[in-house]
Symmetry: C2
Subunit: 161 residues, 2 copies
């Protein structure tokens, strides 16, 4: 039996798209007021989680070799700093627009990658490490980021009534 | 460039093992009392989530063609019924043991599957559907279940202090 690499790419893309669709669906369903609330007492707000997922997804653009981040300022606010840092945060509607733009850009560029390119190294691993660990390819980023998104979607669900 | 199917399998196994390790780590870190609590006001308890993940993981055994479930009774309590159904639930320590046994059994059997077998159909899809949708293979189950586990681990984290 010959296994087509394109089949594997499709499985991983479906998994990623399912997580993005869940996030978009839940952001759409929650009011701004609900998203401003803490997901559980003393835990991150919906606003912080949406900003965090936007920053992490934006970071996939350079990691996959697709160019520069669209919103580099989000990294400091939503990855380096914790929630309630005292820094002013972008509004919910701004964050939703940022996520949508990052997601659109990524989808467009992902669709153009050949299966062979998906199995090439990502930008944060050296040639030397990649030659020893060839599973640390671009596609592996998508597998890991899908799990990461699912983790936070499981928390955002607590904001629904 | 030739892409080895064993490389896809390794990527997906790493993702699954990472999620199982996170779950085991958090179950180990939380006291029984913490696990009995709700993850957020009015939401599922840690006990229910651990039972749910055990039941779903146990269900992977027949789905992957590895034989019968080890704990078939968990399906009703932790998948069909919601939390706080009024049915008596197994203790936390019983559930932890069940998860460990299911995880050990699965790991052992997964390691024996060849890459070709991973790309064969799982047990819940017909030959006809599989011929049209060949990405719905055994390996795809692992991708989806990794995301599912990450989703609930994101909730269990709220029980930590």
């Amino acid at each position: 039996m010959e296994i087509q690499p394109s089949l594997f790419v499709k499985m991983v893309m479906n998994s990623w798209e399912t997580q993005c669709a869940s996030l978009l669906e839940i952001m759409d369903r929650l009011t701004d007021e609900q998203l401003m609330a803490e997901t559980a007492p003393g835990r991150n707000t919906g606003q912080y989680i949406v900003g965090h997922l936007t920053a992490i997804t934006d970071g996939m653009i350079p990691l996959l070799g697709f160019g520069e981040k669209l919103f580099p300022d989000l990294e400091k606010l939503f990855v380096e700093l914790p929630d309630k840092s005292g820094q002013p945060l972008p509004s919910i509607s701004t964050l939703k627009t940022c996520f949508q733009r990052v997601n659109d850009r990524l989808s467009e560029q992902m669709q153009q990658l050949t299966p062979e390119a998906w199995f090439s190294k990502h930008e944060a691993i050296s040639d030397e490490d990649f030659s020893r660990q060839p599973h640390r390819c671009k596609l592996n980023i998508i597998i890991n980021r899908s799990n990461h998104m699912a983790y936070h979607v499981g928390q955002l669900v607590f904001l629904t009534r």
